[in-house]
Subunit: 283 residues, 2 copies
């Protein structure tokens, strides 16, 4: 587990411009003439982060492995602990390292959850509209349902059944069902068994489905239509009927937009942030 051979800068004086770039700009390679490249001198803390990142990406640090302590890490890399800490903070946000049981840092692979959270934020800041999100999920969700119809397992079907029952119960009581709706669609997409697929849809789904919340309260038959559609989709999945699953999902997503418009909500305006202050801990 020793990450030796990765010393960053042996000098203890602040000299961030000597060793850090030694590997990239030195040799002239193109026969053009001498026009120098950007000469990007990365700050040491970033070199630290990249070094550890490489250790993980190239498999020398397996997910779950404990990282050395900050002091040890700083010493091995030949940098100050403060600098090493800044590098770790960089990685921490990426999801490549995580805190297990309080203190120690472990290597990890970033799951789709943390990535989609950041992606959602970015989409919000880019003023993404309802139409944008709908357009994307219109391309993804029916296809996902179709593929899931052949791959879905009994446990996922059971989970969908439970989800649907709970949704119906909440509709009876007039409670909000956005979270369950989101979950229903996520289970189906997860059943495809394609991490890339899941990641591609997650960010948009996190924004689109909650955007329907105001619609549910304004159109009192909207929840029932949703439940009915989910029922049909689930039936199609259970029967392994690819085209039924695809088609009902397609209608469901189309209906989703129609309901949104019927409720008088603007589809070409930036969606609002869905107040996601939940912290979803692992209690």
């Amino acid at each position: 587990m020793s990450a030796d051979g990765a010393a960053v800068d042996p000098s203890h004086a602040p000299a961030r411009d000597s060793a850090t770039q030694a590997g990239q700009g030195a040799g002239g390679e193109d026969g053009d003439s001498l026009h120098f490249r950007k000469l990007a001198v990365a700050p040491t803390y970033r070199v630290v982060a990249e070094t550890i990142e490489r250790e993980i990406m190239e498999g020398r640090l397996q997910p779950g492995d404990r990282l050395p302590s900050e002091t040890a890490l700083a010493e091995q890399l030949g940098v100050n602990r403060s600098t090493a800490r800044e590098g770790l903070r960089l990685l921490e946000q990426t999801g490549l390292v995580e805190r297990k049981s309080g203190r120690r840092l472990h290597a990890a692979i970033p799951g789709h959850v943390e990535l989609s959270t950041r992606a959602s934020r970015a989409l919000l800041l880019q003023q993404v509209t309802f139409i944008d999100l709908h357009q994307l999920l219109m391309a993804l969700e029916p296809a996902a349902a179709a593929m899931a119809a052949t791959t879905i397992g009994e446990d996922d079907l059971a989970a969908l059944e439970r989800n649907l029952a709970e949704t119906e119960a909440r509709v009876e009581r007039g409670e909000t069902i956005t979270a369950l709706d989101t979950e229903f669609h996520e289970i189906i997409s997860a059943a495809v068994g394609n991490p890339a697929w899941l990641m591609a849809r997650e960010a948009a789904a996190k924004l689109l489905f909650p955007a329907a919340d105001p619609m549910m309260s304004r159109l009192d038959q909207a929840p029932h239509r949703l439940v009915a559609a989910h029922r049909r989709i689930l039936d199609g999945l259970r029967a392994g009927d690819v085209e039924a699953a695809r088609e009902w999902m397609r209608k469901h997503i189309i209906d989703f937009k129609r309901g949104y418009e019927l409720a008088g909500l603007p589809t070409d305006r930036p969606v609002h942030h869905p107040l996601n202050q939940e912290k979803d801990e692992q209690s």
Copy 2:
């Protein structure tokens, strides 16, 4: 630009557990009984990051605005500069702040580039296969071509034309064309004018198209098939022919996989790390 009213912890002694949680766990609200929540005391540096993040997300810090200097920031928040720095490092990786012209930090909105880079890494670590990526782009690329056929502008068409010409030239010379191939598809997806769409496909595209590099060298007619397909797609786009654009893109993507298989490359094995050491600065 003053972000006052956001002091984190007025005490100068190391007391990270006093003020930081004051706002969440105090009042009992559910009638159940007294069972306390996880009481997650976030480290101060994370509170710093979340505070600044909130300033940006809620529009008080517009993209492009200069952040206060580290010293000023630390003073305003009532924390040490080292702690403030760690918080900034967290944000730096997220893309919510960026270095403009060397020194000063500016607020920014994360573009699809930095997000997709991280997403690609995550997919690699999750052992995503060629089939996974292909499955996703099979659902996205033809639809993108179809939509772009009605929305694409003259400048994008010109860019595609240039791209295609350059691709042909490189094929003549036997050079690698992966970068141009990736760009061709990206221009089309960007022409849709949907940030969510772009973000959803980018990570997968960054992995799938480079994966075809070995194929190009093994099947010497593959590059010509690619150029021909691009030609048809571009013609469809220029003519505004939705179905032609969709269909040729569909065939192109299918052909892509067939070529991969013909070259004897495994489609159900994790894709390799495409050696993306490029730094793509904004010269």
